[in-house]
């Protein structure tokens, strides 16, 4: 059971939630993991307000997570973000546990805008050892992203690698599960926009190798929708499932992002 909770938490915390303003600019984790290569607009902020994720692992253990996040487009084609994941793990019918699962800092830089060349981006982030469920040490990651647009759909490819020591189980104390990290993640997504409705339908398939050396490569799938509720609000919802591995958890996610800018003029 402990292992299932651990796996479910992994799904919540292992990946950064890169923020962008509108429904068409996808975010990692909102609602699927694979994201596009475009950074938040310069001088734009995005506040992820209570994006919720519920996971259920084989065996019936549930994990809730909320990851408030603030992103800022501080330079041309570049944004930074900070997020504080909070999680609550139901430990198989016994009393659950809640806590912070680390603090995540990240930066994403779009290398180019798509023409006949696909759009490329690079990202770096670090998961800091903060909180009850946080990792015991910092885990930095690097990521490459590609987006290619076709008349009817877009395709995104992501590949991420995490540095740091492999462990069999990370724990901040002897009684509670904690966050896990992937050694690598690689996968793709396809999305189709319904432009007049300001809606995006998206689906993904990716593989990940847990940092836990005892775990095998996992295959995961997901699908979701992003919707522009108003010029400032974008909503999202999704569902996914781990196709292989011991837990084979599924998840539901829903969230909303609020966009705003700087009130003074740029030079």
């Amino acid at each position: 059971m402990m292992r299932h909770s651990l796996t479910a938490l992994l799904a919540l915390m292992a990946f950064p939630l890169h923020a962008q303003t509108d429904y068409y600019n996808t975010d990692a984790g909102r609602p699927i993991l694979i994201e596009d290569a475009y950074a938040l607009e310069r001088r734009g902020f995005e506040l992820q307000v209570a994006p919720v994720r519920l996971s259920r692992a084989r065996g019936g253990s549930y994990t809730w997570g909320v990851e408030p996040e603030l992103a800022f487009g501080f330079a041309n084609r570049t944004h930074v973000e900070v997020s504080v994941p909070l999680s609550f793990a139901d430990r198989g019918g016994t009393r659950g546990a809640a806590g912070i699962s680390g603090v995540e800092l990240s930066v994403l830089h779009t290398l180019n805008i798509e023409t006949s060349i696909p759009a490329f981006a690079v990202a770096a982030d670090v998961l800091l050892p903060v909180g009850r469920f946080g990792p015991p040490r910092a885990y930095p990651s690097v990521k490459g992203i590609m987006t290619r647009t076709f008349p009817k759909a877009r395709v995104h490819l992501n590949a991420q690698y995490t540095f740091g020591a492999a462990v069999t189980r990370l724990s901040t104390n002897t009684t509670l599960p904690t966050v896990d990290v992937s050694r690598w993640v690689a996968g793709g997504a396809i999305d189709r926009a319904l432009g007049l409705r300001s809606m995006l339908l998206t689906a993904e398939l990716y593989a990940r190798k847990p940092l836990d050396s005892a775990e095998n490569v996992e295959w995961n799938s997901g699908a979701g929708v992003r919707y522009q509720l108003s010029p400032r609000w974008a909503m999202d919802g999704g569902v996914g499932r781990t196709l292989t591995g011991s837990a084979q958890a599924w998840y539901l996610t829903a969230g909303g992002a609020y966009a705003f800018g700087l009130p003074w003029s740029a030079r």
């Binding site: 303003t21 509108d22 429904y23 068409y24 950074a39 607009e41 310069r42 001088r43 734009g44 902020f45 487009g73 041309n76 084609r77 779009t110 290398l111 180019n112 805008i113 798509e114 023409t115 006949s116 060349i117 647009t149 076709f150 008349p151 877009r154 690698y161 020591a165 492999a166 050694r183 690598w184 926009a193 319904l194 432009g195 007049l196 409705r197 300001s198 995006l200 050396s213 522009q228 509720l229 108003s230 010029p231 400032r232 966009a259 705003f260 800018g261 700087l262 009130p263 003029s265 740029a266 030079r267």
Partner: protein
């Protein structure tokens, strides 16, 4: 500590890198990479208390703008991706969809045009970014003018702040110097769109009439209720233009100084930027529609046009010349006034899509390159007739040298006070303002007057007298 398998195999890693680099080199020749490696970016709109006020207070009008975004986007995408499609694809199928569905039930939110025109965006993301950035300025100025919490001085200050913010993106901002119409309609690729797709072209000009015309009721109205009524009236006028297309749609590109004279007088830089924006819209349509521009040259031509519309030197004309040119093109040819208009649509005085030529310094009409005058103007040979002597200046009224509209000097002393007296009568003034042809003739005839009298006439006729 476990050693990572990937890191433990440096040779395998090196091989993967070499394969990737080789593949990339094969995929993109160096020149192609240089030409296609684009690093433009988006900037968030200026955060302010007036953000989205127009959307909240004038929902019915605001949503039309969202529909216009779709119309522009689907036009470019269709021209690019279906170059061999029959004209009916745009003129009938898409036009009907736009006017019977999209405009009738317009989207609630501003659209992400990249989702509508993905292939066009790939072709020229820099041009799309220019349009997007100007549309941001468009919308933010509506917000300011619609914000009842702001007094006139505050609105003026905010609009200037928005224009300043717009100009911070020098790589995207259209020039605030007026450009001659030569740039829009006398290039090698020009006129392809309006000639093959006259109805759709008229619809686009109808969009542009509405986009600049809607500023006028927001300025003319002195209370919130008056602004609401004025905007509703302008919206209704736009729908009237769609009743019998293309006859009822504009025959010329609507010029801001003609459609929204008070707005152009108050914010001339914004008016010029929007005219340049709308000209560039037409230019992109022509480049995409013209088969003489090879597909592999369309991007280069669009980027060239973008540079010419951004710089402050190419095809530039004086502000006063721009005003004169705008009047000479004929308000009645552009869809008519946006406020205080008569019930009937104005009757154009040129053939649809005609190309008038103007002196780049004075803005005066020098001839017709394509098309001709119609109605009472039919058969006029602009620029060919001798110029009549006039009061104060030796030149004839701009663009109408052959019309014998000039005022003999001995008649002026009698006619001018009479004209002022008539224009001071609110009933007469209302009728003059409602008659676009009469108003234009009075404006043109005022060109020959000394500056104080000319400005006085123009002020009465709601025409700009200030310069930026």
């Amino acid at each position: 500590m476990m050693r990572n398998e990937f890191l433990s195999r440096p040779l395998a890693r090196l091989r993967a890198v070499v394969v990737a680099v080789t593949f990339a080199a094969m995929l993109f020749a160096p020149n192609a990479v240089d030409a296609q490696w684009v690093t433009t970016f988006e900037t968030f709109y200026l955060q302010a208390s007036h953000n989205w006020v127009f959307r909240n207070n004038y929902q019915h009008a605001d949503r039309l703008f969202n529909a216009f975004d779709y119309g522009h986007a689907i036009l470019y995408e269709t021209l690019l991706t279906k170059p061999n499609a029959p004209a009916a694809e745009l003129e009938t199928r898409i036009y009907d969809r736009l006017t019977t569905q999209v405009l009738v039930r317009p989207p609630r939110n501003p659209l992400e045009e990249m989702a509508i025109e993905p292939m066009y965006t790939r072709l020229a993301p820099e041009a799309k970014a220019m349009f997007d950035w100007s549309h941001v300025l468009h919308r933010q100025i509506y917000d300011v003018l619609a914000d009842e919490r702001l007094d006139i001085a505050s609105k003026d200050r905010e609009v200037q702040r928005l224009i300043g913010y717009y100009k911070t993106r020098r790589d995207l901002a259209f020039s605030s110097k007026p450009k001659s119409m030569e740039l829009m309609q006398e290039q090698s690729y020009s006129l392809a769109f309006r000639q093959k797709y006259p109805k759709f072209n008229g619809l686009i000009w109808g969009y542009h009439w509405f986009q600049v015309g809607l500023y006028e009721p927001l300025i003319v109205g002195t209370t919130g209720a008056e602004r609401q009524a004025g905007v509703r009236s302008t919206v209704a006028r736009f729908w009237q233009m769609l009743q019998d297309p293309p006859r009822t749609l504009p025959y010329q590109m609507p010029m801001t100084a003609a459609i929204a004279p008070l707005f152009a007088q108050r914010y001339p830089e914004a008016a010029i930027i929007f005219d340049n924006l709308h000209s560039m819209h037409d230019v992109v349509s022509d480049i995409l529609a013209n088969p003489a521009v090879p597909r592999n040259q369309k991007r280069a031509e669009i980027l060239r046009a973008g540079r010419l519309f951004r710089d402050d030197t190419s095809y530039v004309m004086p502000v006063e010349g721009w005003r004169t040119m705008s009047i000479a093109m004929g308000l009645e040819n552009m869809g008519g006034a946006a406020v205080n208009f008569p019930r009937a649509l104005p009757i154009p005085t040129v053939t649809r899509g005609a190309v008038m030529q103007h002196d780049r310094q004075t803005g005066r009409m020098t001839g017709m390159k394509v098309g001709q005058m119609t109605g009472e103007h039919a058969g006029m040979d602009h620029g060919a007739a001798p110029v009549m002597p006039v009061v104060a200046t030796p030149a004839a009224a701009p663009g109408h040298e052959a019309h014998n509209m000039t005022v003999p000097a001995d008649a002026t002393a009698v006619a001018l006070p009479l004209q002022f007296r008539m224009l001071d009568d609110p009933v007469i003034l209302r009728q003059v303002l409602a008659d676009s042809v009469l108003r234009r003739k009075l404006l043109l005839s005022s060109d020959s007057l000394p500056t104080p009298q000319r400005d006085s006439v123009r002020k009465r006729l709601n025409f700009s007298v200030a310069t930026p």
